[in-house]
Amino acid sequence: MALIELENIVKTYFLGEMDVPVLKGINLSIEQGEYVALMGASGSGKSTLMNILGCLDRPSSGNYLFDGEELGRASGDRRAMVRNQKIGFVFQSFNLLPRTSALENVIMPLSYTAGGLSMAERRRRGLKALQEVGIADRAGHQPSQLSGGQQQRVAIARALINRPPVIFADEPTGNLDSHTSVEVMDMFSKLNSEGITVILVTHSSEIACYAKRTICMSDGQIVSGIFGEEAHK
């Protein structure tokens, strides 16, 4: 069974009298271990789709099955728990807590994990996650003392802290220069090779090249789903 199953997902915003349809019936299935790039021009609905996939937003209609569980209509607390346990987020603007050390940023999600871990255990896991992204030596630094690439690595370590099966990355290289972009994208490739499903949202085809499957969106609909090498032509 697929990790993510979307059936006829519709999302409509109501702005005053007017209905603005953003997603017009999306059907999509993503398997465990895939590396997917979600592409499209701005306004194509890719961010809305990603918010729905990431349990941050609810579809207006349609079914969203995650790991066999219907989440589109699940309670807020259940969805929060799924976000905590099964989903990792990486944002364009890193979204690290200011004046808080890298390590504390990384272990922050653990404080919302049910059945709390001891502080020592949290730190141990946090350091391990930082090691994985290769900046364990910067554990005590605050975001302002880190470069953009390092900050994004801290954000990736934070996304990994609960060993989620899937990581969503929204324009992860949008604020980085080309050199560090390559490093960060290599990181995602490495994670994917370890079996983690990676879903990228990007408008850059260069970045999309890293993915094994590219989904193009336009005007609220999927216009093409290309697999593997074809995407890179």
Binding site: L56, D57, A80, N95, G116
Partner: protein
């Protein structure tokens, strides 16, 4: 998310911006400090008032003769001499809540002479031995007089500390002979100093002697105008007009004298002092004494009392009214300042929620539930208020200590006020922190993450 983590997190968040945190807390600090200082000063002064009233004898009462009206003109206090020594005996015998009774005879403006020194004591009292217990007078040296000395009009007296200084130049006056109105008295005791009373009068400028002595030997035999002629103390007509002449009345023969019951000491006293069995029962005792005296004085129901009863509880009530009025007033001011402080907290918390919108969005994205966010901001507000409260308690206590050392006002630390300050600061945190926290918890994570 467990509470200890949240508290730690909010402490970190507050330390991140120390100046703002301090300024936000200032309202609470000042409010709580004001409450604590006022409570400590208030407790201290009411304690000192209570002590000075207890020195006067908290459970004691004073009965004075009332006044007489002649053709609508009030003749003033003491214009009737209505109290009898037998009244004192009856009060003791018939009022169950009265423990001790002492008649009191006042002698004023009497010169005391000792050797070449002389002095006019402010007060000269004739009392019974019970008086010293009722008024809580202690002995410096010597002894009190006994009931027997009262019975025999003994010429003994006790002197206060001021008299020891003024007349005896500080030397022990025991067994010295002093003269008052050419009557010699032996000093048998020195009273312990009480200092000035609440009215500023020197309580140590006093001489005490058996009341019978004061009445019979010093002030003269004051007799009532109505009953005077039946008294043995009145002079016979033959003595008033010593010349030989016509006898106005037949001389008493022995038969007539035997048939006529003459009260041997039919004399009036100035005041009666009594104490209740329990200081709290003083009002009950007053009622019993009033009923008994009205009956003994044969007053009809519509007639007003021919005596007045005063008790220290009157002072206590008056002082309590004053102090509670003052503390209520100050409490009102403190509550206003705490509300202002609370609004400051709410204001800053709202700013903080807006400022940290992205943080809230992020926390929600990594799995924080609405209630986790609510808890975080609520606890932050409570911690802010609690820290402010603790600082306020310390500041308030410090200010009270300063007042004590600089102004010599009595203070008393009040654990109740400290506990109340704690509860109030936590409540302010919850009340004024709730709205911002609720607002934070209702943020949409997508909007919050995008917020610039």
């Amino acid at each position: 998310m467990n509470t200890a983590d949240t508290v730690l997190m909010s402490l970190k968040a507050l330390v991140r911006n120390p100046t703002r945190t301090l300024l936000t807390m200032l309202g609470i600090i000042i409010g709580i400090a004001a409450v604590i200082t006022m409570m400590e000063i208030g407790e201290g002064s009411s304690r000192s008032i209570r002590e000075s009233i207890e020195k006067m004898g908290a459970g004691s009462g004073l009965i004075r003769p009332g006044w007489r009206r002649a053709a609508g003109v009030n003749m003033g206090s003491g214009s009737v001499t209505s109290l009898l020594p037998s009244d004192a005996d009856a009060i003791l015998a018939e009022c169950p809540t009265v423990a001790l009774v002492s008649p009191l005879v006042r002698a004023s403006n009497m010169q005391l002479v000792f050797g070449s020194a002389n002095w006019v004591p402010a007060q000269m009292y004739g009392v019974s031995p019970e008086y010293f217990t009722i008024r809580d007078w202690q002995l410096e040296e010597g002894r009190f007089f006994s009931q027997r000395e009262v019975d025999i009009n003994a010429r003994v007296c006790l002197v206060g500390a001021t008299i020891v200084n003024e007349v005896f130049s500080g030397a022990s006056p025991l067994d010295c002979e002093v003269r008052i109105k050419n009557v010699t008295f032996r000093v048998i005791g020195v009273l312990k100093s009480k200092g000035a009373n609440m009215m500023g009068m020197d309580e140590d400028d006093v001489i005490m002697m058996p009341w019978t002595t004061a009445r019979m030997r010093i002030t003269g035999r004051r007799t009532g105008s109505i009953t005077g002629t039946t008294s043995t103390l009145a002079k016979k007509p033959g003595e008033i007009y010593p010349a030989t002449g016509v006898a106005f009345y037949p001389e008493q023969d022995s038969n007539l004298a035997a048939d006529t019951l003459v009260q041997p000491r039919f004399t009036f006293i100035d005041q009666i002092v009594f104490s209740a069995t329990d200081p709290n029962k003083i009002d009950e005792a007053r009622k019993e004494v009033t009923a008994l005296l009205r009956e003994r004085h044969g007053l009809a129901p519509q007639q007003e009392d021919d005596f007045r009863i005063h008790s220290a509880s009157d002072f206590l009530k008056m002082m309590n009214t004053t102090t509670s009025l003052m503390s209520n007033l100050l409490l009102g001011v403190a509550i206003i300042s705490l509300i202002v402080g609370g609004i400051g907290i709410m204001n800053i918390m709202l700013v903080s929620v807006t400022e940290r919108t992205r943080e809230i969005g992020l926390r929600m994205a990594v799995g924080a539930r609405s209630r986790d966010i609510l808890k975080q901001f609520l606890i932050e507000a409570v911690v802010l208020c609690l820290v402010g409260g603790v600082l306020g308690i310390m500041l308030g206590h410090g200010a009270a200590l300063l007042v004590e050392s600089q102004l010599n006002w009595p203070i008393e630390s009040s654990p109740g006020a400290v506990a109340a300050a704690f509860i109030v600061s936590v409540s302010i945190g919850i009340v004024f922190g709730f709205y911002p926290a609720w607002k934070a918890s209702k943020l949409d994570p997508i909007e919050a993450l995008r917020y610039e």
